[in-house]
């Protein structure tokens, strides 16, 4: 377990009176792809948001890259997310009206990098996700699949040690989804990063090393796939 980049133990979370997670424990190691699956409402997205520091759990512990997420402040969690973590959400979550190149460069820009350098790096990633020539396009002009690929580029631009993806192929067609997944998994494997992938699609889950299945806010079972 020494190479564990994410350790969650006894995590609980409730939205008002509705319990989303009821004592979930899981880990992810460097270079490992973990698929979190389960039916709708089982707590998959909540788990991902807690693991990535977007939400604070109401009980339990979360260690991400040697940081105890409950003991560090909001600003530190933001910095951690910006520098060492990549997040891809269901709808891309690109900044509206900001050109694509700046959207991809955003984590570097927020971290104080100079604009020219950040844009050069972003241009490289746009090319890699097959969006070269669309640097000046704003998110509203993109298709769902293109926006997701841009979000993947943004998540990977800082070379994160862990990538979290919530239904990354949710707004893409079948072929687009395959391409997106290839890009994501390829980039993660290349740098021996961990990937925590939330999906309800069993086909996508089969590409993971391990599957953690949730049901009613609890881990139903875990399966090693490779």
């Amino acid at each position: 377990m020494s190479d564990a980049v994410l350790t969650m133990a006894g995590v609980e979370y409730a939205y008002r009176r509705t319990a989303a997670l009821r004592g979930v424990s899981m880990t992810a190691r460097a270079g490992e792809i973990v698929a979190v699956t389960g039916p709708s409402g089982s707590g998959k997205s909540t788990l991902l948001h807690i693991a990535s520091g977007v939400l604070r759990p109401q009980a339990g512990t979360v260690r991400l890259l040697d940081h105890d997420l409950l003991s560090i402040g909001e600003a530190d969690r933001c910095r951690l997310r910006r520098r060492e973590v990549g997040i891809v959400l269901q709808f891309g979550q690109l900044v509206p009206d900001l050109p694509l190149i700046d959207n991809v460069a955003l984590p570097l820009l927020l971290d104080g990098n100079d604009m020219a350098g950040a844009r050069t790096a972003a241009a490289g990633w746009l090319e890699r996700v097959q969006l070269d020539g669309m640097a000046a396009v704003i998110p509203a002009e993109l298709s769902g699949g293109q926006a997701q690929r841009a979000a993947v580029a943004r998540a990977l631009i800082t070379g994160p040690a862990v990538v979290f993806a919530d239904e990354p192929t949710g707004s893409t067609d079948l072929l687009g989804g395959e391409l997106l997944l290839d890009l994501l998994i390829g980039a993660v494997r290349e740098r021996n990063a961990a990937l925590v992938l939330v999906t309800h699609d069993n086909t996508i889950a089969t590409r993971a090393d391990r599957e953690v299945r949730l049901r009613d806010g609890l881990v139903d079972h875990e399966v090693r796939l490779t």
Partner: protein, 471 residues
């Protein structure tokens, strides 16, 4: 984060955003100009001795209206000018808040991308300060424009301000500084990202019971001193001006902050009670996101208060004059015409512009914020005509109620606090009062109908199934 990055992220990127920023800046500029005019009017009170009114002759050597020169009335004119300033500022605030849903989503997206709360706050502050400083810079030209309208164009005896001296531009830098501070506060306190709740960025939460309680408590906290002030005004007629002035300022703050949202929630309950599908849908949207309509309703309430105050002032003054001058005295009628024309034209024009702009902004914002709901309803088979009626209902019901109650409050507060109000010679009888109440309300209704038709293309855009994808 480097300064260049902060400026890049704070830049209004879309055309709509740029229009919003410029419109807000223009409003702040006009408000700044009005403050400078108010300062100049203050300095004229009692300083220049009034010349006795002669038949057909000028009212004073300077050409200034006796309203400005006479010390007693001067305070009222300053108060009304500041009330106008409040209205324009409220409209500017509306414009700054326009698209706040989109801005919240933008901030939350930045936060998800790793921006710290301090960074998102900095970006929001830069955005607002830039607009506010632009507004402050426009205050100088706005002051000159207002001088042309109030000091150069009117004939002798009706002028409200003297030709500007260089020294009268001295408050300009202070106005710029003040608007910058207002902008910084607006950015700091109104553009917070939706953090640590849900990553579904910018999705506003429904009103919970606790928010009802908070707003009701805030309304009570603000309404109690306003009531005390008005009561003191009635007990102490000699100090009426000061008391009422304080009450007015308090109302300017209270109305947009709390009264508007409470009025919207009350209207939603009334609509729901009607039970027709259109009213129930209108009530649902109002309850879901009461903020934008609440702010519009707050502004309209102040508008109504202003209309009521000005009408009552005119009525009371006419009553005074009729009591002390024979009706056939031509000079008196000249005076009254000048008086009422200055105030009523000023108020009617500014009030009409503010009402129309407020309703338009509210409807545009509503169409944007509720586009997913509108697209869902369209997908379920609700046609454009019905949706248009829903939008109109949710706008007109709270707006007309706010205008009527504001006007009534304006008439009542001024009439009751005036020592000679019992001398009114029937001018403010029920018939006139009804007309004063009905006309602005009717105006709102007509503007809403025209706007609803004019915004049909925007409604069609909101009905686009593509909006079903928005979060």
């Amino acid at each position: 984060m480097k300064t260049a990055t902060a400026l890049l992220l704070a830049r209004p990127a879309s055309t709509a955003d740029r229009i919003r920023a410029w419109s807000a800046a223009v409003c702040l500029g006009i408000a700044g100009g009005l403050i400078m005019i108010a300062i100049q009017i203050t300095t004229c009170g009692g300083v220049i001795p009034p010349t006795p009114v002669g038949p057909g002759g000028p009212f004073s050597a300077t050409g200034l209206s006796p309203l400005v020169i006479e010390e007693d009335i001067n305070l009222w004119i300053v108060g009304l000018t500041l009330l106008l300033t409040g209205l324009v500022l409220a409209l500017g605030w509306q414009l700054l808040r326009l698209g706040s849903d989109a801005r919240e989503r933008r901030m939350t997206t930045l936060w998800l991308a790793g921006a710290t709360p301090e960074q998102t706050s900095t970006i929001a502050v830069i955005d607002s300060v830039r607009t506010a400083v632009l507004g402050g810079l426009l205050a100088g030209p706005a002051y000159l424009l207002l001088w042309v309208l109030l000091g150069a164009l009117p004939p002798a005896g009706v002028k409200m301000v003297l030709a500007p001296q260089l020294t009268e531009l001295a408050p300009w830098p202070i106005v710029i500084l003040l608007t910058a501070l207002v902008g910084a506060a607006a950015g700091k306190f109104t553009c917070q990202p939706v953090i640590s709740t849900s990553p579904r960025a910018g999705r506003r939460t429904l009103w919970a019971g606790s928010r009802w309680a908070t707003h009701t408590a805030a309304a009570l906290v603000l309404a109690t001193p306003a009531g005390v002030i008005l009561a003191l005004g009635m007990i102490d007629p000699g100090g009426t001006g000061v008391w009422l002035f304080g009450g007015m300022l308090l109302l300017i703050v209270a109305a947009p902050v709390v009264l508007g949202v409470l009025a919207v929630m009350w209207s939603a309950q009334r609509l729901r009670a009607h039970g027709t599908p259109i009213d129930v849908l209108a009530a649902a949207v109002l309850t879901g996101v009461p903020g934008p309509t609440g702010r519009a309703v707050g502004v309209l309430w102040i508008c109504g208060f202003g209309v009521g105050t000005v009408t009552a002032t005119g009525g009371i003054d006419l009553a005074h004059r009729l009591a002390y001058h024979p009706a056939e005295d031509e000079s008196f009628m000249d005076f009254f015409t000048a008086y009422t024309l200055t105030l009523l034209v000023e108020w009617t024009l500014v009030g009409a512009v503010v009402i129309a702009a407020t309703l338009a902004l509210s409807m545009v914002e509503r169409l944007h914020d509720a586009r997913r709901t509108i697209a869902s309803l369209a997908a379920l088979g609700v046609d454009a005509a019905t949706l248009l009626r829903v939008l109109r209902r949710q706008l007109t019901v709270p707006s007309m109620a706010a205008m009527a109650s504001g006007t009534l409050a304006g008439v009542a507060s001024l009439s009751l606090s005036m020592p000679s109000s019992n001398n009114l010679p029937g001018l403010l009888d029920l018939g006139v009062l009804a007309a004063v109440l009905v006309l602005p309300v009717l105006f709102i209704y007509l503007v809403a109908i025209v706007l609803a038709s004019a915004l049909r293309p925007r409604l069609r855009a909101a009905m686009d199934p593509e909006n079903l994808r928005t979060v």
